[in-house]
């Protein structure tokens, strides 16, 4: 007698092969989805929901310097609909530590209020990959000799492959002509850095 129905619930055990119309999986995992990984293989994979980390830090007090890393007076953006997504980076004495591995975009913007006629400024993102020595990884520069006014601005950014959160860290460097000052704000982002995790390493 030909079968008109198959009792799948009771007659099939284990994984039904992909070639036979199955998934090759015996069970699924909450919040994961089926991912095609090759010619015939399906796998349960983490649900990559896109960007999961966004954070912004800013300078809260002005300074004059011929060149220095920012090591104090930094705060997380906390005004006007500030957007912290995920746990964010942590900061200690000017060293920023990432909360997770992955490809991270670091953007650093500076504005300067100028108090004399010698007008140049730059900012840098420095990175360590061994939690010790730092290298300049990105530079922004500006010169206002021909611009007039008393404000300058520049920015820079770096995409960093954070393979180890204990070793890969970031610092922010500013320099400007003597007796000039960085521009700061505690209510909006004038000297600030954003940290965005783009994806897995």
């Amino acid at each position: 007698m030909a079968l008109s129905k198959i009792d799948v619930a009771n007659m099939v055990t284990g994984a039904t092969p992909v070639a036979n119309g199955g998934t090759g999986l015996t069970s699924g995992t909450t919040n994961q989805f089926l991912k095609f990984t090759g010619s015939t293989t399906l796998a349960s994979a983490a649900d990559n929901a896109g960007i999961t980390e966004v954070d912004t830090w800013r300078l809260t007090s002005a300074l004059t310097t011929s060149g220095a890393f920012l090591t104090a007076n930094l705060e997380r953006d906390d005004t006007y609909g500030n957007g912290l997504l995920g746990s964010g980076v942590t900061e200690s004495s000017g060293v920023f530590t990432f909360p997770s591995t992955g490809f991270w975009r670091v953007f650093f913007q500076c504005n300067w209020h100028l108090t004399d006629d010698v007008r140049w400024a730059n900012n840098k993102i420095s990175v360590t990959t061994d939690n010790s020595s730092y290298n300049t990884a990105a530079v922004g520069a500006t010169n206002g000799n021909d611009q007039g006014g008393n404000e300058l601005s520049c920015s820079t950014e770096k995409i960093i492959d954070v393979t180890n959160v204990s070793n890969v860290k970031v610092k922010l460097y500013v320099s400007c002509a003597s007796s000039q000052a960085t521009w700061y704000s505690t209510n909006d982002n004038a000297v600030f850095a954003t940290f965005i995790r783009l994806g897995d390493t």
Partner: protein, 88 residues
């Protein structure tokens, strides 16, 4: 802001910036920058050190002392007078 839209110093932070370079001062409340909230930082980056210097080696102890309120106000007035003289 420590300066108004024209660039005239209008807050004691402008005076503090003119006293010493680098991050030698901080505030107990960055949204309420009054003299009584002014503090010295313990350490800051030594600008004479190469940028690749390991972080802790590049930090120096703060050599400065907290200026008196009258000294800060006097410095601010000095800056304002100089700005007024230069900008009419």
């Amino acid at each position: 802001m420590a300066w108004d839209k024209n660039g005239r110093p209008n807050h004691i932070e402008a005076a503090l910036c003119a006293m010493h370079e680098n991050q030698w001062f901080t505030w107990t409340d960055s949204k309420n920058k009054i003299y009584s909230n002014l503090r010295l930082t313990e350490k800051f980056w030594d600008s004479t050190k190469p940028e690749e210097t390991p972080h802790e080696e590049g930090m120096m102890n703060n050599p400065y002392t907290l200026p008196t309120e009258s000294a800060v106000n006097a410095k601010l007035k000095e800056l304002q007078d100089a700005w007024d003289a230069a900008n009419g």
